[in-house]
Subunit: 402 residues, 2 copies
């Protein structure tokens, strides 16, 4: 019998995206859905992006391949304009343009680990780490945290206990998708020392670096002293400039073996998208005022959402200090069932909300079953309305536990 | 010791791209290099592409994610404008937008085969089939052909002999990169019947479909009767509209299990590049006259190159009937050594040529060692000059075997 592979059959579907058909159906019926589910902000991209693209349209003869590592102008620009502006000393040779942050960390996982090897992650973590670990036959080992503790990183003992001869790396996202947790400098130094001690790579996914809401600057893994060879940075222009659809990110590492391996992987997909590279090149001229405005806006949005959540009976959300998400504990039997019910059944004056059930961000069985990830990617009035709808839904949901 | 994975260490480097640093160095010295090495044509993209992009730049607020399967407008447009125009009845549900043809066939390989499974390929074949087979732990089994026979597909006995309980698919490129071989309708029907008989998938990479130089229309795997469930088509807008850098392709299959699996893979990389999708949408309005002109141009280029090659002492090139490549047998000890020598040492009045050693397109040991792939992607006067340089180089090369 003609059959697809077990690998494809057993592959988990994206927790974030599998509700999409239900929301499409609701919208087709004329229901207004407030999308708190995807990290796709409504913020305008900087004007310099479109100016750069228009200029290219007038000059281009065709849209050709670039070097597999990306346009040298973009590599140089990222190193000399962007990284320099945030105090990181990166040379173009230490930087390779990828198809979004996704390609960067997914290839990094293969560069550090063979099938059967292990990578340590801190729970909750970005759901596609699990997808790629599955595809590459890598086992994820989990450091547990606690929502009541704001998902603080526990003592290094929790990491030490997970080390085996097969452990190859620690993989974190900082600020964290889904929890909005911002790793402190102290935490980063400890994780760096742990990686150094056990000869592990540290894959640091920092695509939300521009979204930090403390007075301290973001502390990048690249800044950990004496850890140069261990660190692999996954980065992206997606969130920084509201260019998610360009599919342009980068990998940064000072480890020459890592970069040489990355180039081989990059060659297999020929090149990163040229038009997205041009957009990213244009984005390098974004004025600081753009980031200041965006940050101010997100602080308002966060404050609005977190306050509203904690006012709902039985709901708890810690205060996130980075990214544009929070993970909230809900008084429901099962957040996935609740999210489906919101899309298929519940209507508040013809409106509803879409949230992401958070169990996909956990590996430990049972943990996160009544948690949801809320992306605060709408304007404050829309968020206020969405929170009111959510509050009402929690009162009416048949599977409520209060 | 901190070490990258064996998987990354042992991964083969791209045969096509590993000479790039040498050509960069030559060009940095002021040497003019005629690039016969990459399938990156110099032909202008249709005007409607840039018109569409300009219009989007004026409308867009930001560059956001699309559905993982691509924009519905593009899926519909490809089905209803492009595939319909070439006589193929495809519905948008049977079509998913990919990151170039590369993502399409590389995911198809994983959808049909587990690690340890086998896929049958016809030699010579596109070098990245080998790369992806390596990455996914799939074994390629090879049907050999003969350059003197114009790489004709041998009798089905050659395929039958390779079948084991682990065989899952046949993978072809038609027209073929690197050989320019065009599969005849008879060959396609035989391969289809073979796949049907053994319950194998047929992955058909048809990214060069628009480049056929016989009076017969291209015979797509989708046209094989009674083989609907077996066929997975890998396609791309790269070559068709000279949009290689957009990284937009598609997978087409009437097999619902295949498409459902493809969507899971697609979700893991979030979405195909938006700007490239807009370019591809614009390209759907390309007038037939564009393709007629391009085809006429390539026939002239092919005739120029193949005639010139066969006039060189000891050189043999069959006549290719598709794509824009030919594989030529050269009177040299080793085509890779020769290609390097061309870039590092040989100069004809300050000029040289870059060719692709063909051994990367073969798996059978020793075969193809003195073959090169020549891409006829320059205008006729440049090709004439490049052929004159190649002829002179073959006379002077220290490792010549004539």
């Amino acid at each position: 019998m003609l059959q697809i592979s077990e690998k494809a059959t057993d592959m988990p579907a994206s927790a974030i995206r599998k509700l999409v058909p239900l929301s499409d159906a609701a919208e087709a019926e004329g229901v207004k859905v407030y999308h708190l589910n995807v990290g796709a902000p409504d913020i305008q991209s900087p004007d310099c992006v479109f100016d750069a693209l228009r200029a290219r349209c007038d000059q281009l003869k065709n849209i050709s391949y670039t070097n597999s590592a990306g346009l040298m102008d973009l590599r140089r620009g990222m190193a000399e304009k962007y990284y320099k502006s945030i105090g990181l000393d990166v040379s173009p040779d230490e930087l390779l343009i990828t198809e979004g942050g996704s390609e960067s960390f997914s290839v990094a996982m293969q560069i550090v680990a063979n099938p059967g090897d292990e990578i340590i992650v801190v729970e909750p973590f970005y759901t596609n780490y699990k997808t790629f670990a599955y595809l590459y036959g890598i086992t994820l080992k989990v450091v547990q945290t606690n929502i009541r503790d704001s998902f603080a990183v526990p003592s290094m003992d929790a990491f030490e206990k997970l080390v085996t001869p097969w452990t190859k790396a620690v993989l974190i996202s900082n600020p964290c998708n889904p929890s909005g947790k911002l790793f402190t400098k102290t935490e980063m130094l400890q994780i760096g020392a742990f990686c150094k001690k056990h000869d592990l790579f540290l894959i640091s996914d920092e695509v939300y670096r521009e979204f930090c809401y403390t007075s301290e600057p973001h502390f990048s893994a690249l800044s950990i002293p004496d850890c140069e060879q261990n660190v692999i940075l996954a980065d992206s222009v997606s969130k920084r400039y509201n260019l998610c659809g360009t599919r342009i990110g980068c990998m940064v590492s000072r480890n020459k073996h890592v970069m040489a391996a990355m180039l081989k992987f990059a060659q297999s997909r020929l090149c990163p998208p040229l038009l997205g590279q041009y957009a990213a090149l244009g984005a390098l001229d974004t004025p600081q005022s753009y980031f200041d405005e965006v940050r101010k806006e997100y602080i308002q949005r966060r404050n609005c959402v977190v306050a509203a959540l904690n006012q709902m009976p039985g709901v708890f959300s810690p205060m996130p200090y980075g990214a544009f998400y929070t993970v909230a504990q809900l008084p429901v039997d099962d957040a996935e069932r609740f999210a489906k019910w919101l899309l298929t059944t519940f209507r508040a004056d013809g409106e509803t909300v879409m949230i992401t059930p958070a169990s996909g961000f956990f590996l430990t069985t049972g943990v996160g079953r009544n948690y949801a990830r809320i992306a605060y990617v709408l304007e404050v009035p829309a968020l206020e309305r969405a929170m009111a709808i959510l509050a009402r839904a929690l009162q009416e949901y048949p599977g409520r536990t209060l």
